[in-house]
């Protein structure tokens, strides 16, 4: 112990200290007005007024010939002289906002924000407050020194006169009768905070743009959700509500993550929860539109850090750390609730509540949040690429439909089948009529198989193969794009491991085939050349050939159970491929489809048939 004993005295400060701290706030008016809103909200909460009955008005009056511009915040609670003396006047009192009340909804932190906004951002500022029949006017003069207006300190006046002095006659028309009654009966009062001749009010920083920024300010958003906040600009009254942000398709969210109890950062183990402070949570949301396209709402593209007292920091995405997908993160916003940040032993809350105090705990938390944002953005990016691919494929399905249409119109399969198998099929069953293929098809069902001959138990025959329809003309579709004609699903999703030509069990009887658009080679062709390139068209053409070969092989096996390689080679592979390539070289439309590099997909309005059209070749630029 030292031999000296210090006797404590009240601190003495030069007013310049207020300038130093005040400058740290780097106010813009939206942020300052949000501070006033919080103070009004705290006043209502201390008076235990329900959210739906908390009416707050932000009134912005432009400069006129006789008066400077004026910003005001109005609530209907009011302060007593004693409250001003004991709570408002003290700088930096963390208990000022609560005023001894244990209310978790009190948002004021160090009790500085609103006062500093009055002091820093206006030539003069004051509040007129009326409570219990007494009017008090307290404010900052043009030397930024605060104090009462001695003419209006503890001044007993009637409500009507008080309202007149505060210039609230018009505002009174905007509040409900119940509140007016409370005011008239003296059960409540009012406060109007006024800043005159605001700084930085020029250019695009107009009252309307300030209000727009206030709507999306992190410190104000939660209040706007629950309280009755209106803006009055000149004569126009605007109810300030939080805009509902429609989510991005496929990422409706919200995406919730529990914060880990401990994070490792370097060699440090950082505690994010303990017996006193419960585990936190990160909630990410998405927007249908990127925030950068939404003007002032761009500031929503952030993560708000929230503690028990409300938002204690807010970070734009790029401020979180290494963001990998900038494009996708422009669609993300969220909120992280982490009460331990307010632990007085390791307080991470700054005076201005814009950013957290920089320390291991806050940095570890931000890095963890950044990882979660990156994960979500990665998923969105992958989906976006996939969507783009599907869209391209959708357009290219016109080409596939052309091939379907060409095959149908030219009766290619019918002719080929007749050529290989020599006309209509013979029945596969026994007994009865047997033989002749008298059901040889018409239309798309080509060449019935004579299965009507001798079905089980009929016409004296025994058990035959089940009745079969002749193989239908192939209906070829693109997987993951074209609709399912059977209506079992929206479309058929193929796996990259599925064969290039895929069929479900249900597709077989209907002659439906799916070109696997997810196969690695199909993807490669599309990625390298695009969906309108001749290579992609030829790829689809090849798959149509595969299908014809497949049909021919099965047809042959059905007719002749003992297939030989020579038969397949000669009768199927050689013949099918030769015939179709002959057609491709002779038929002008098919040739054009395969060789014309200037073909693009389009839908003809005519008979519903799909036709690719030739696009004009652009003249070379000079």
């Amino acid at each position: 112990m030292s031999q000296f004993k210090i006797t404590a005295q009240p601190n003495a400060f030069h007013d310049h200290l207020l300038d130093i701290i005040g400058n740290e706030f780097k106010f813009d008016h939206a942020k300052g007005l949000a501070e006033w809103l919080k103070n009004s909200s705290d006043a209502y909460n201390r008076a235990e007024v329900n959210d739906e009955d908390q009416f707050i008005f932000i009134r912005l009056k432009p400069k006129s010939a006789v008066a400077p511009a004026r910003f005001e915040c109005i609530d209907f609670v009011g302060m007593t002289h004693d409250e001003i003396e004991t709570a408002f006047k003290t700088w930096g009192d963390p208990n000022a906002a609560a005023r001894g009340k244990r209310n978790r909804n009190i948002l004021g932190g160090h009790g500085n924000g609103g006062k500093f906004y009055m002091r820093q951002m206006f030539e003069e500022s004051r509040f007129i407050t009326y409570r219990d029949g007494q009017l008090n006017v307290f404010g900052f003069n043009d030397n930024k020194r605060y104090g009462f207006d001695r003419s209006y300190e503890k001044k007993k006046v009637g409500l009507e006169r008080a309202l007149e002095l505060a210039g609230l006659e018009d505002v009174l028309k905007l509040i409900p009768r119940v509140l007016k009654n409370r005011l008239e009966s003296g059960k409540t009062g009012f406060t109007i905070v006024t800043g005159e001749a605001p700084e930085k009010l020029r250019g695009r920083n107009t009252p309307r743009s300030i209000i727009q920024r206030l709507r999306v300010h992190p410190q104000a958003r939660r209040l706007l959700k629950s309280k009755q906040v209106s803006a009055i600009i000149e004569t126009q009254v605007i109810k300030l509500e939080v805009e509902i942000i429609p989510p991005k398709d496929g990422f409706e969210g919200p995406f919730e993550f529990d914060l880990p109890a401990v994070l490792t950062r370097g060699s440090h183990q950082i505690e994010l929860a303990n017996a006193k402070y419960p585990l936190g949570k990160l909630v990410l949301n998405t927007s249908a539109e990127p925030f950068t396209r939404l003007g002032d709402r761009a500031s929503l593209n952030c993560i708000d850090i929230r503690g028990e007292i409300g938002v204690i920091g807010s970070y734009r995405m790029h401020e979180l750390g290494h963001v990998k997908n900038f494009t996708e993160t422009e669609f993300i916003y969220g909120e992280c609730f982490c009460p331990i940040l307010e632990d007085p032993k390791d307080d991470c809350v700054r005076n201005d509540r814009e950013k957290l105090v920089e320390n291991d705990k806050s940095q570890a938390l931000l890095e963890w949040i950044c990882e979660r944002v990156n994960e979500l953005a990665d998923k969105m990016a992958a989906k976006s690429v996939e969507n783009q691919r599907v869209e391209e494929l959708r357009q290219s399905s016109v080409f596939n439909e052309f091939l379907n249409s060409w095959m149908r119109k030219s009766k290619f399969w019918e002719k080929l089948r007749g050529e290989i198998f020599g006309g209509p099929d013979v029945g596969t069953a026994f007994g009865g009529k047997g033989g002749g293929g008298d059901t040889a098809g018409s239309g798309e069902v080509n060449g019935g198989d004579g299965a009507s001959a001798g079905d089980e138990g009929k016409d004296g025959g025994g058990a035959g193969d089940k009745k079969k329809q002749g193989p239908k003309f192939p209906d070829v579709r693109l997987s993951d794009v074209d609709p399912d004609p059977l209506g079992l699903t929206d479309t058929v999703h193929c796996d990259p491991r599925h064969p290039l030509i895929y069929q479900r069990g249900e597709d077989v009887a209907q002659g439906i085939y799916w070109i696997n658009s997810q196969s690695p080679f199909a993807k490669k062709v599309l990625e390298t050349y695009g969906y309108e390139h001749t290579r992609w068209r030829e790829y689809m053409f090849q798959r149509h050939i595969d299908i014809l070969v497949k049909q021919a092989v099965y047809e042959m096996e059905r007719r002749e159970p003992h297939l030989s390689a020579a038969r397949i080679d000669n009768e199927v592979l050689d013949r099918v491929t030769r015939r179709i390539y002959e057609a491709a070289s002779e038929d002008t439309s098919l040739s054009s489809f395969l060789f014309n590099e200037n073909l693009s997909s389009t839908q003809s309005a005519g008979d519903g048939a799909t036709q690719p059209v030739e696009t004009p070749v652009r003249p070379a630029s000079t």
Binding site: G462, K466, Y554, P561
Partner: protein, 209 residues
């Protein structure tokens, strides 16, 4: 103990094909069956003069195909590998070389893996389904892998599908029971997994009762 009627047709097919899987015409099977077993397959009242061509349809298209002994198409039939093995035992029983009961149980009761089952197991070990399962990636197994595992395709006719399912089930069961190869035990697990995962495909290929 007599050889059951469907099995007699297998004996006839075995003799006709010379123990191979060559395709056989229905009429030849009818006549051969009658020649070997006139009392069973002769025309009523003319048992020893004429065969009855209506008697072989149902066994051929029904139990013999469903159990994977026979394949058919376009009025022709052939024995499968499994059918050949079974028919060979049946022929020996018919000739009195082995008891009929033993021949009838030959397919299921042997303590040795038959050649056709060995072939099935060998084929299965080479499938993607087995490889993925062995590598712990069973969730990646697709419907098309299941078809390949069974040795069929999505277009395979229902009787043949059921026949092949039975053939593979028997082979897998015997492999797990008899073989020392640990992969054959794994195949049994794979089979149980696939049958559960693709029960809808099996259901779709179920034969009407």
């Amino acid at each position: 103990m007599d050889i059951p009627r469907p099995e007699k047709i297998l004996v006839a097919m075995f003799q006709l094909s010379g123990g191979t899987n060559s395709p056989l015409e229905y009429e030849d099977i009818v006549v051969k069956s009658w020649q070997l077993f006139p009392d069973e397959f002769g025309l009523r009242k003319y048992v020893h003069q004429y065969p009855d061509s209506s008697d072989q349809h149902k066994p051929l298209y029904g139990p013999l195909k469903d159990k994977g002994y026979v394949l058919s198409g376009n009025k022709k039939f052939r024995l499968t590998e499994k059918g050949i093995g079974y028919a060979a035992e049946l022929e020996r029983a018919w000739k009195g070389l082995v008891p009929v009961a033993k021949a009838l149980g030959a397919v299921d009761g042997s303590d040795r893996l038959s050649r056709d089952r060995e072939a099935q197991l060998k084929r299965i070990l080479g499938t993607d389904a087995f490889k993925l399962f062995a590598e712990g990636q069973k969730e990646r197994i697709l419907d098309t892998d299941f078809y390949t595992y069974l040795g069929v395709t999505v277009r395979t006719e229902k009787h043949e599908f059921q026949g092949q399912l039975k053939t593979v089930s028997d082979a897998v069961r015997d492999g797990a029971r008899i073989s020392d190869d640990p992969r054959h035990k794994l195949t049994a697990d794979l089979h149980a997994f696939l049958v559960q995962k693709f029960k809808q495909i099996i259901e779709r290929n179920r034969l009407p009762k």
